[in-house]
């Protein structure tokens, strides 16, 4: 009994307001508009019209979907207001996977940073590592050797493959094509096998680090990658047979979850969702990083901004990635895989036995870490889900003062209320699937 008072105080101090969706009558007008999916700034007339659509509470049912639900991709929780099976309002509730990784990043050195950020987007971990490393390098003002750059590109594209294949799997599964789930995973596994051979781990690689990559490519990597590149395209054609031309599949996806370019831009949405509206925005081409300006590839765009476009874009981005990887194989330079800067790169193991200086550097780098000049930097990369940015404020010590990741999943999640309005419950599942959120990245 006596514990109620402190509990309430705790709630009042930490709560960011009610998370649950409540009846229309109790909802503030702004919140209701948000849940209705009002994306753009509305004129007063439009707002009034939106506000007037009140079917009455006795006709609607508020349903809780998640955090434990088979198709909310982890622990996303959605509160839906349903009229029959039609979705009227949606409220995504996040935070169930919050592990404080951004805050943890402030207690880890820059060298430890990738270990931390790689766990955010667990379907495409190398991109978080890449964004973090690029930002750190920008603060340090160093340039990594060409081979490191190309290895990073190779890894990014392989990872994009595995991530999009995972999307194929989950998208199929969410629409009831259960075999697709296994097929997608099967091909993803082949990709992960290569990633494992190169980095040592299937996920959470901690491979791309400030100053280069953790290790050079192993013997026989080229053959493995070539084998993968031969393997995947026929499988993609199988996907086409199984799903793309399938009438039920098209019926389920076409015209579902439509969003326009303006709405995407207003919400800050990037990646396949933005491209599905016909807006060709791809950081690899528009703000080239690494050596993407030296490879030839197409930015795949859609027309209608519906779920089918998003599916087709991802399918074709796999093909584009394969094209890029072929070029990377041709152009992969020789040389160092990490920068030869004693202050940033740990010395090779053999040198430690011979050189006192190397031992000191090794000790300093792994205990204290290297110091990064004061300043702040933001670098964004095109992750499979959209613009993945890393913002670091450095106070001149060996740990970031503040580290923030702009997770595309988090931003893209905002489109849900808008896209779901007026659809059926089954459409809601298709839409969540086509947004392809990774909750680790949403909650960070």
């Amino acid at each position: 009994m006596s514990t109620t008072a402190p509990d309430n105080r705790l709630v009042a101090e930490t709560s960011e307001g009610a998370q649950e969706m409540v009846d229309r009558a109790l909802e503030s007008a702004t919140e209701r508009l948000r849940e209705l999916g009002a994306v753009l700034r509305l004129s007063e007339a439009e707002a009034a019209e939106l506000g007037e659509q009140d079917p009455g509470d006795d006709q609607t049912m508020i349903m809780n979907m998640g955090p434990q639900h088979p198709s909310t991709h982890g622990v996303l929780r959605l509160m839906l207001e349903l009229e029959g099976e039609t979705v009227l309002r949606t409220k995504p509730i996040i935070g169930y996977l919050h592990t404080g990784m951004e805050k943890t990043g402030e207690d880890l050195t820059y060298l430890q940073g990738p270990t931390n950020v790689t766990r955010m987007d667990y379907a495409s971990p190398l991109f978080s590592e890449l964004a973090f490393s690029l930002t750190t390098e920008k603060l340090l003002g160093i340039e990594v050797p060409p081979r490191a750059v190309w290895i990073r590109m190779l890894m990014s594209e392989l990872n994009r493959l595995s991530s999009h294949l995972l999307f194929m799997a989950t998208n199929g599964m969410d629409l009831g094509a259960v075999s697709m789930m296994i097929y997608g995973w099967r091909e993803r596994e082949e990709t992960l096998r290569i990633l494992e051979k190169i980095t040592g781990l299937r996920m959470n690689h901690n491979y791309i680090r400030p100053g280069g990559v953790a290790a050079d490519l192993p013997d026989g990597w080229r053959d493995d990658v070539l084998r993968l590149l031969d393997l995947i395209p026929p499988r993609l054609d199988e996907y086409d047979t199984l799903m793309t031309g399938q009438p039920i599949w098209r019926e389920r996806l076409q015209g579902v979850g439509v969003i326009t370019t303006e709405e995407c831009l207003a919400l800050g949405t990037t990646g396949p969702i933005l491209r599905s509206t016909g807006y060709a925005w791809d950081l690899r081409r528009d703000l080239p990083y690494l050596a993407y300006d030296e490879v030839d590839f197409d930015v795949v765009v859609g027309t209608y901004g519906d779920c089918f476009d998003r599916y087709a874009i991802r399918l074709n981005e796999i093909r584009e990635s394969i094209r890029i990887i072929h070029q990377i194989l041709d152009k992969m330079p020789l040389g160092d895989y990490r920068i030869q800067d004693k202050k940033v790169t740990p010395p090779p193991r053999a040198r430690i036995d011979e050189s006192m200086e190397a031992l000191i550097h090794h000790f300093k780098i792994f205990t204290e870490g290297f110091k990064v000049p004061e300043g702040e930097a933001y670098v964004a990369v095109e992750s499979p889900r959209g613009e993945l940015g890393c913002y670091i404020v450095s106070d001149g010590t060996s740990k970031p003062y503040r580290m923030h990741i702009r997770g595309p999943s988090f931003v893209n999640l905002q489109t849900l209320p808008h896209m779901m309005r007026g659809g059926l419950l089954a459409d809601a599942v298709a839409i969540i699937s086509s947004v392809d959120p990774i909750m680790g990245e949403v909650d960070r």
Partner: protein, 395 residues
């Protein structure tokens, strides 16, 4: 009438009937066990997996193991549930699944004027549990009763996901029953009898209803049956990705197992009904050996083909959406079934009255085309109107 009862009923006859009941029951239980294993194994093959392979040879006893596990699990009952109905519902699903199989002839020689009887302990009888005069209507009636099982299960769970599942179930099963019934009516028209035994014996010597009725009723029946069974791509009632488990979300332990049993039993039964109605039941050539041996072999071969088809559907097709399902049922299957029924009827009359068949065909096609275009027009108009209201509501 079953010739078993021709000379009145004595103790031996009763015992034979009891024997047949036990045999049918045992067969169904084993069939379900096999079906679950078959489905899991086959779908594993289609998905590059191995599937059950631990319990028994090739994992054959996996179903038994699962059944025992489910039996000993905690039987949880939701607080909000209407307990009486909650407990009743699984049986409402299960019993019809059992009963339907009673009318399926599984053996007996129907070829070359064979009357489809077998000898059982010195008595001549049909190789089916019962041959009631209402015959195939029993199957339709039982599948209607099975709707109650699903509907009440969802409703009584006192939870929102099952409720949605049961709403879907009642709407889906009721509307597909219409298409199912209409395509059955075509067959009844051809056979001139409701009795399944007569329907099978009318198809003797490869006069299968599959071609006798002109394929369309078969296709309609197959689609409607899939929907009636709640199997993919029509498994909206369960729709794991949308409704978690649909109507059986709140069920656990043996009650869940009963639903599971009923579902797979329905699959077996419905395949058997398809074989009976369209593929001449147990009819097939007697190759070598005794005469009584081959009909069951043919029957189970044909049955196996449809079980395979149902698993194949599940492995390849994405799920329909609720409104698309309704559209398919009401706007395509039912009008088509109705039109085909009229067409078959017209042909029967034309044959009986010696009318000019070509003329009848021409008139029928014209009438059906006009009807189809009228229907299309109506559907298009309705859609336009709906889209207008929707744009108003959601702009």
């Amino acid at each position: 009438m079953d010739p078993l009862f021709n000379d009145g009923v004595d103790l031996a006859i009763v015992l034979i009937v009891v024997f047949k009941v036990v045999l049918t029951f045992a067969f169904l239980m084993v069939a379900v066990m096999f079906m679950v294993w078959f489905e899991r194994k086959l779908i594993s093959d289609m998905q590059n997996r191995i599937g059950p392979n631990r319990a028994g040879p090739w994992g054959l006893l996996q179903t038994l193991a699962d059944g025992i596990k489910l039996f000993f699990k905690e039987d949880s009952k939701p607080d909000q549930a209407d307990l009486t109905v909650f407990k009743l519902a699984p049986y409402l699903s299960l019993v019809p699944a059992f009963l339907t199989f009673a009318i399926v002839p599984v053996a007996g020689n129907f070829m070359d004027g064979g009357d489809g009887t077998i000898e059982l302990f010195g008595h001549t009888t049909y190789a089916q549990l019962a041959d009631p005069p209402i015959g195939i209507l029993l199957a339709l009636a039982m599948s209607s009763v099975a709707v109650y099982g699903v509907m009440l299960a969802g409703w009584s769970s006192g939870s929102k996901y099952p409720l949605l599942g049961s709403v879907r179930a009642s709407a889906q099963m009721v509307s597909y029953e219409a298409a199912l019934g209409l395509s059955v009516a075509t067959i009844v028209l051809l056979a001139g009898s409701l009795s399944t035994h007569t329907i099978v014996s009318e198809q003797t010597n490869y006069q299968w209803n599959l071609w006798a009725a002109g394929f369309v009723p078969f296709v309609l029946f197959l689609i409607a049956a899939t929907a009636e069974l709640n199997r993919p791509p029509f498994d909206l009632v369960e729709a794991e990705q949308e409704l978690v488990g649909g109507f059986h979300t709140e069920y656990s332990s043996i009650r869940f197992a009963l639903f599971f049993l009923a579902e797979f039993m329905n699959t077996v039964t419905m395949s058997a009904i398809i074989v009976t109605l369209f593929f001449g039941g147990p009819a097939g050539p007697i190759l070598v050996g005794p005469e009584w041996l081959w009909p069951p072999i043919w029957f189970f071969t044909k049955l196996g083909v449809f079980l395979f088809v149902f698993v194949w559907f599940r492995a390849t097709l994405p799920r329909f959406r609720y409104d698309q399902l309704m559209d398919l049922g009401w706007k395509l299957l039912i009008p088509l079934a109705l039109g085909w029924l009229l067409l078959i009827g017209a042909f029967r009359i034309a044959r009986d009255q010696d009318w000019n068949l070509a003329l009848v065909l021409a008139i029928a096609v014209v009438v059906l085309l006009v009807a189809a275009s009228l229907l299309n027009g109506a559907i298009a108009a309705a859609r336009r109107r709906r889209e207008e209201t929707e744009t108003e509501a959601f702009s």
